[in-house]
């Protein structure tokens, strides 16, 4: 089973030099991934989104739409699965009926959407999975997976605290997401691994706040009571960072406590604004993979790529006071 793992900034160049790519994988299939391709065609890309109602997923839609608009040959269709596996399955089937040229999907749940992805692959339509995977092997059961790495993102946040924010050490707290969910565990462990760089930093409290701002506020207020010297708090998403900020404000400690978020969403309620206005110390983007997905679609549909990297991990961007204002302008 071949399995190419390449960081996102590198792979378009690799994919373009088709000869190099063929070398790495033994060129099992020397034919392009799709029958109809080339720069002169017009292509419809269907995106099956898990649930438009989540702010992060809306952000994915926006980035994907913006990236697709830059390619005159592409028309992007977004279907909202509305958090319902039956709806999302029927939308995937409709894309197959429409014979769209390429499908992107963020499956609401892995195993229920697996048969729908298999039907699309069987119909000869490449399927790129964004952020969440279905069951199976990338490169075989679906064309490729593009997404962020929760552990690495939180690790970056931990390193930022250890190196830049608190070089002299101090007490640090963590607000965890919904305990049973994989991203919550990965982000918690990633952050704790990151702060280990600085032995003078001590994680004195970690509490689950289920991704919710109100729970984060209650939890962090209690943490500040128990540990009045907390110098920084890492919130596993932006919503909880907003809650932590309210708790710090309530305790009169906004200057003492540095707040870090995760997701880095744009907009008035998002983390970029909060960092730009000095409310938080930093937030770390959970990349949407949108631009990377459109790049891969270009390689497959316009450049007739014979193969593409099957797993693309998109790195996080640290949003700090240095770049927040500039990012907000975008």
């Amino acid at each position: 089973m071949r399995r190419l793992e390449i960081r996102s900034k590198l792979w378009p160049f690799l994919a373009l030099s088709a000869g190099a790519a063929a070398l790495t994988a033994g060129a099992a299939q020397a034919a392009p991934l799709v029958k109809e391709c080339g720069k002169n065609g017009q292509y419809v890309i269907g995106f099956s989104q898990a649930n438009n109602a989540e702010p992060y997923r809306q952000h994915v839609n926006d980035e994907l739409t913006a990236a697709a608009k830059k390619v005159p040959q592409f028309t992007l269709q977004i279907a909202d699965g509305a958090g319902n596996v039956n709806t999302q399955t029927s939308q995937m089937d409709n894309f197959v009926t429409q014979k769209v040229d390429l499908i992107l999907i963020s499956p609401f749940e892995a195993s229920p959407l697996t048969p729908a992805v298999a039907r699309a692959m069987k119909a000869g339509i490449p399927v790129i999975e964004l952020d969440r995977k279905t069951v199976g092997e990338p490169g075989k059961d679906y064309t490729a997976f593009i997404g962020g790495d929760n552990f690495k993102i939180a690790e970056e946040a931990g390193k930022y605290v250890a190196g830049k924010l608190l070089p002299d050490g101090g007490e640090v707290a963590v607000l965890e997401g919904l305990p049973s969910s994989t991203p919550a565990v990965e982000r918690l462990n990633g952050f704790k691994a990151g702060v280990k760089d600085n032995p003078k930093i001590e994680v004195v409290a970690e509490q689950a706040a289920d991704w919710l701002p109100d729970k984060a506020q209650t939890a962090f207020a209690a943490m500040l009571q128990a540990h009045p010297n907390i110098k920084a708090v890492y919130a596993s998403n932006d919503m909880m960072a907003a809650g932590a900020r309210l708790a710090a404000k309530g305790a009169g400690k906004v200057d003492q406590v540095k707040i870090l978020g995760t997701d880095g969403l744009p907009g008035p309620a998002g983390g970029i604004r909060a960092v730009a206005e000095g409310e938080w110390a930093a937030t770390f983007t959970y990349p949407t993979g949108g631009p990377e997905a459109i790049e891969m679609a270009k390689a497959i549909l316009l450049d007739c790529a014979e193969q593409v990297p099957t797993v693309v991990t998109v790195p996080t961007t640290a949003i700090t006071p240095d770049n927040a204002k500039q990012l907000m302008g975008n």
Binding site: N52, Q77, I78, A79, D80, A82, G83, N84, V85, N86, T87, T89, S90, Q91, D93, N94, V96, T97, Q98, K99, E109, S111, P112, T114, P115, S180
Partner: protein, 349 residues
Amino acid sequence: MNDAATALKSAPARPAPRRLDFFAVAVRFQSVIGLILVAIGGVIFSPRRHGSILFLAPDNIANIVRAISETGIIAVGMTFVIITAGIDLSVGALLSLSSVLTATIMTTWGWGLVPTLLFVLICGAAFGATQGVISTKFRLEPFIVTLAGLQTARGLALVISGNQYINISYGDGPGLAPPIFSVLGDRLFNNTVPVATLVFVVVAIVATFVLNLTRFGRYVFAVGGNERAARLSGMPVTLVKISVYAITGLVSAIAGVVHAGQFNFGSANDGTGYELTAIAAVVIGGTSLFGGSGSMIGTVAGAVMLGALANVLQLNNINAALQLLATGAIIVLAAVLQSLVRRREGLGR
């Protein structure tokens, strides 16, 4: 308005009750007409590829009838309840509970296929019947009782599943479900007819038979039309009412089993809002929320129509918001038509 007044008022307004009223006929088959209109619209507005109409492609028809199979099965049961002037809000949650039960029993308890299915279906029917008993015994509005039932079923589903998705893997051995169960997600006859749809068809045929050709069916109409008169003429009104909730419970369990088989998992979060889709299909199908009248064919056509509408809008890449607006408008239209008929017949309200 009480029954006596209704009777007085309606008597002179209906000189010839058996006369052919085209308007009433049109309303009775409003959903069939609606379905035909949506189909014609679908053909006209359907995108085309190489000259063929995508909307009419066999694959696409299969997609439509697969997508509505679960809500369709529920809507068929809901028709009985609504004809008795009742309502059942617990169906979506009960579907979810049934899918969780099915997945848990097959993967954790290690039961075989037949005992699992029997147990889940009996549980569903018992759940529904319990709601019926509480509603009739304590003279509570079914709205309240089944609202409580909705919460209870979801709560039970969360407890049983431990707030986690229960994946179903197939094979022979402990922790694996019998492979034959996955047939619910397949398509038969050269990969054309979804099995989930076949279940829907069977349920609809049985229900049509029960509603139109059995004494029980006549009782259902009578109880919904005039409960007091039905009671005075010696019908087992309470039993009929309990039975219709047992029926919605049973069909929700069937839909839950189909859900588990189609998607290879049980989830406490699924089936949200299915009760509303099912009620919409029933109302569009011409069944009156005041009870006493309704048709099973109407319900089936209503369910298919909602699916066809969603399909043609997506094929044209029209967003989900418009789909909701269109569905809302169609429900209002269906209700207005029914109200007009009642007025013409002098039934008021």
